[in-house]
């Protein structure tokens, strides 16, 4: 602790990275046993997923609508308005769906996970489990982590579908793009690979966001200020990591 406080920032960050990596290994080792209690995972899918649905759907709708407006203007310059469906679908499936969903997930579910686990630490609930010979990693952290990992691709899919609906609403009903062209061009241009890219990205973001949220909560200082700081760190670290991973994964898929 003392050593960590006096370290240079680089050493401190490297030390933290190592701690997160070790935590990840311990967490992954507990994921198998956690599947023995599917009820806990289902609860977390409900908490992280179902409770985020409204914000995800609303955001998806508006992002799709804005995307259609902007893209339509651009395509109009080249006389390719009919390609609006393809452009919207590719942008939503490969980029906007996974990234914006992950950012919203970090802000809504990630902070909730961190503060919940941090408060459990502050109120001795995790210590009580350890004293009952129950590993809190297995009972508390692993189900929440798995819930987040499973939820993110589902939320990203919902975001993309609603986004497409929003794009169609603007493109077809407001801008007058032919409905048949909108959907048929999309069908012929969007391949399985594009869907795989989007799903892979959202799964990776789900993994990263959930890991950070659970780690920060698990090691939050057991005070009100400590939990608050941990929550802030979750949002900041998740957001940066999402954008970094997005670049890396996009480059890999090219």
């Amino acid at each position: 602790m003392n050593a960590a406080m006096h370290d240079a920032p680089v050493t401190r960050n490297l030390r933290k990275l190592g701690a997160v990596a070790m935590f990840m290994c311990r967490l992954l080792a507990q994921c198998g046993p956690a599947f023995a209690r599917p009820r806990l995972i289902v609860n977390q899918v409900y908490n992280a997923g179902a409770r985020s649905l409204v914000i995800i759907m609303l955001s998806g709708l508006f992002v799709g609508m804005v995307l259609a407006l902007q893209t339509f203007q651009l395509l109009q310059r080249f006389g390719s308005e009919e390609a609006l469906g393809t452009a919207a679908a590719l942008a939503l499936l490969k980029e906007l769906g996974p990234v914006i969903t992950a950012l919203l997930f970090a802000g809504r579910a990630g902070t909730s996970l961190t503060s919940e686990i941090g408060l459990m630490r502050a109120t001795d609930q995790l210590t009580a489990m350890e004293m009952m010979a129950v590993d809190p990693l297995r009972y508390v952290a692993a189900p929440r982590f798995l819930g987040g990992v499973l939820t993110m691709p589902l939320l990203a899919a919902v975001f993309s579908v609603i986004g497409l609906y929003g794009a169609q609403l603007i493109g077809v009903h407001l801008m007058g793009v032919d409905r048949g062209s909108f959907w048929s061009q999309m069908q012929s241009a969007v391949g399985v690979n594009d869907v795989v890219e989007g799903v892979t990205k959202s799964a990776a973001f789900g993994f990263a966001c959930s890991l950070i949220a659970v780690y920060e909560g698990y090691y939050a200082e057991p005070t009100a200020a400590g939990v608050g700081l941990a929550t802030t760190r979750t949002v900041v670290a998740s957001s940066v990591l999402i954008l970094l991973l997005d670049y890396v994964l996009t480059a890999c898929f090219l």
Partner: protein, 282 residues
């Protein structure tokens, strides 16, 4: 009720009689010494009190006894095993023989009272549901809260939460029960109830108990023997009567609740008058 019929603290206890043995433990946090060579023994079937002013490391001592922390030097033995040499699996096995009552209850907030008490049973056994129900209701009846089985922790008063936590602590029939400040923040009725429950657990179930507290009167009414910690050491040990009769200044100050004595009331500070007259910021 203070166990005068049992052997005195300074008599030689056989090894099998000792459940927890703290031997010459030194422990520091961030370079600040908390313990400077303390020794104490918790004997089977007895209520052992650990007293001391706030900040003397009573809760830290419990952490050392339960393998949540390890001494920098010295040994903590539980059932004859050095806790520091045990694997995490073996530590969990030792903890299954203990029950712990936390200062704030530490109930799991997403489970109701019944499920909180059932939690360790569900985790460690495959008891059929009717049997589990009977077991949990029996324990809740013992603490007088069978009727509160369906309440959530947020709906309980402080005293009720602590009684539920006590039911949870005894549901696996531990050999050793550890109470961390069980009387703090309770009204007289709840405090009296907890005192009676601690005594009943010891007498009816034969459970060995460690009670960490600075409530002298309550502890004196139930403990067979007590240790007084101060300045990182055990400054006195004995039956409540022996502590009461002690001529040591630190013991007298603690037992009488006096501000004057070897344990300073004031945190170290510069001269009072000089600081008041000073124009500098505090």
């Amino acid at each position: 009720m203070t166990g005068s019929d049992k052997p005195a603290l300074n008599s030689v206890a056989s090894t099998s009689d000792v459940l927890i043995d703290v031997r010459d433990v030194h422990y520091a946090i961030d370079g600040r010494a908390i313990f400077d060579g303390i020794n104490l023994q918790v004997r089977r079937g007895r209520i052992t009190g650990i007293m001391g002013p706030s900040g003397t490391g009573k809760t830290t001592l419990l952490r050392l006894m339960t393998a949540q922390a390890f001494p920098d030097r010295g040994q903590v033995l539980a059932w004859g095993e050095d806790l520091e040499t045990l694997s995490s699996k073996q530590v969990f096995a030792v903890r299954k023989r203990m029950g712990m009552l936390f200062q704030n209850g530490a109930l799991l907030t997403d489970l109701d009272v019944f499920e909180n008490v059932a939690f360790p049973v569900r985790e460690h056994t495959d008891l059929p549901e009717p049997l589990l129900r009977t077991l949990v209701l029996t324990k809740l009846q013992a603490v007088g809260l069978r009727g509160a089985a369906e309440l959530m922790p947020a709906e309980l008063s402080g005293g009720m939460a602590r009684r539920v936590a006590l039911a949870r602590a005894i549901v696996m029939d531990p050999e050793l029960l550890i109470y961390d400040e069980p009387f703090v923040g309770l009204d007289p009725i709840s405090r009296g109830m907890i005192v009676r429950l601690v005594r009943q657990m010891n007498e009816a179930l034969g459970i060995t108990s460690i009670v960490v507290s600075h409530d002298v009167l309550e502890l004196a009414s139930i403990a067979h023997e007590s240790y007084l910690l101060s300045g990182g050491k055990v400054v006195a040990a004995g039956t409540p009567q022996e502590l009461k009769d002690s001529s040591l200044d630190v013991v007298r100050q603690f037992m009488e609740g006096s501000a004057e004595g070897p344990v300073p009331f004031h945190y170290p500070a510069p001269d009072y008058l000089a600081q008041l007259l000073s124009v500098e910021d505090p």
